[in-house]
Symmetry: C2
Subunit: 287 residues, 2 copies
């Protein structure tokens, strides 16, 4: 059996980013908390906390902390817990969903939320490594031990400011103009711009890329004329209406299906959250 | 002398997240790009790319890629470069600044932007490790080889929804109510809520914490009544006016000074960006 008080210490350190803050939260001394971690590391034969700075969990440490969350979530089915032992629900949510429709249903989570942001193509890595309990993602591939629930499609539109279009796309987007016009991209895992450009040009284009890892700043950068980019239609509908943004090819939207992938062991405890997500998706997404 | 074509291959792989995409962007074969990386790794005696998935740079690989960016930036002072050799300007910007005032001045950057998000207390780690060229941060400590320019103060207000206040703070915030009311926090490095609670309670409080690593989702979660949190005043001014959010203690704002820290070697090339940042800060921040 694992040493659960030590796991609690480990999880608090990772969550609060310091040994001292964790000791305070657990009402034990800093030396007691160091001792627990050392014992846990000795017994598991591996380093669980990177002492930094910054202090953070190693892969093994994060896996153990995620295990503790799952145990707490299971316990919730058994007993009425006290408020300060609320389980932590760790979720990976793609940034564009969080920026548009996903925040309200997340409030149905039965515990304290820990929302990590990931673009829609790679949230499964988080699930596979058991760092999160559920993920809102565009990846439909089954993850072992997880259920996958299709939610609908999010529509993206290739957009730019009128000035940007006059400068880079006077004759519309094609392989030559796409190779010269700066594109916006969320991060190195964001393949939407590449996919769309390939579809338009009929071949792969090496896009000059800006990278801005925030959905709202990405849309703002599009309006400011920094580059063209794939924006969620629901996010920039008003800009298209007002003419502040122009759709580069109104007949060529990109529809990205989204899935709610959830660790099967936690599915019963997270049922209220799953219901809220499905309901919100029905109004926010295309069928 | 370093092998710069190999460094270019390394930087493209890190930026695009795959060997294949990098080979395409550089118009060389995948086997040629693999060969370049292997040579570079043999000569430096260390692994530069974590083959994943996901494919990403190791610490040493990121440092080499950042070096290449600096060399390109220096070259820009010498010669007129061709459009597809635009230098990449890698910046760490704290999320709340990007969400409120910092995106427009960033468009003055002389090259392709690569904006990484960090909360305001730890962007210096990025600078120190030479993964970024400049950082917008609350940390005034000098970083060796960097200039630090004070920009002004961003005002934060402890806010919550009226329903949340009725439930958790009927008699206002104190050490007892703060220990029970869920707080919002950006990530494990976000100490604003802890600092404010400590000031109000006169001692440290172990806050029950939700974590949501997006400024806009953080504000939305406050409005939805998920928790209380420190929101930038400029971001939630309209909510305070309309009564959708209430200031927990109007006479207790938290003012966070912000600094523009910039690698001295890149300062001349980035002068237009620095000027734009300083100008925007004068209207957006308190003196």
């Amino acid at each position: 059996m694992l040493d659960y008080p030590a796991l609690e210490a480990l999880a608090e350190i990772i969550r609060r980013g310091s040994f001292e803050a964790a000791a305070h939260a657990l009402s034990i001394t800093p030396s007691a908390i160091s001792q627990r971690i050392r014992n846990l590391e000795d017994r598991s034969g591996t380093v669980l906390i990177d002492r930094g700075p910054p202090v953070q969990g190693t892969k093994a440490g994060l896996r153990l902390a995620a295990h503790l969350d799952q145990v707490r979530l299971l316990e919730r089915g058994l007993i009425q817990t006290i408020p300060d032992a609320l389980p932590v629900i760790r979720l990976a949510i793609n940034a564009d969903s969080l920026a548009t429709w996903a925040m309200p249903p997340l409030t149905a989570a039965p515990g304290l939320l820990d929302v990590v942001i990931d673009d829609q193509d790679h949230a499964l890595d988080w699930l596979r490594n058991a760092h999160v309990t559920a993920a809102l993602t565009s990846d439909s591939r089954p993850v072992s031990g997880c259920d996958s629930i299709p939610l609908g499609r999010m529509r993206y539109r290739a957009t730019a400011s009128p000035e940007f279009i006059a400068r880079y796309f006077p004759n519309g987007p094609d392989s030559r103009s796409l190779g010269r016009a700066p594109a916006l991209s969320f991060n190195s895992k964001d393949g939407l711009q590449d996919r769309w450009a390939r579809r338009i040009a009929g071949r792969r284009i090496a896009l000059p890329l800006h990278r801005i890892a925030s959905s709202q700043a990405f849309a703002e950068a599009t309006r400011l004329g920094l580059g063209w980019g794939m924006n969620p239609e629901v996010m920039i509908a008003a800009d298209l209406d007002s003419g502040q943004l122009i759709d580069l090819a109104p007949d060529q939207p990109l529809d990205i299906p989204l899935y709610w992938q959830i660790a099967r062991i936690s599915a019963p405890a997270l049922m209220p959250l799953t219901r809220a997500i499905k309901k919100a998706a029905r109004t926010a997404l295309l069928p």
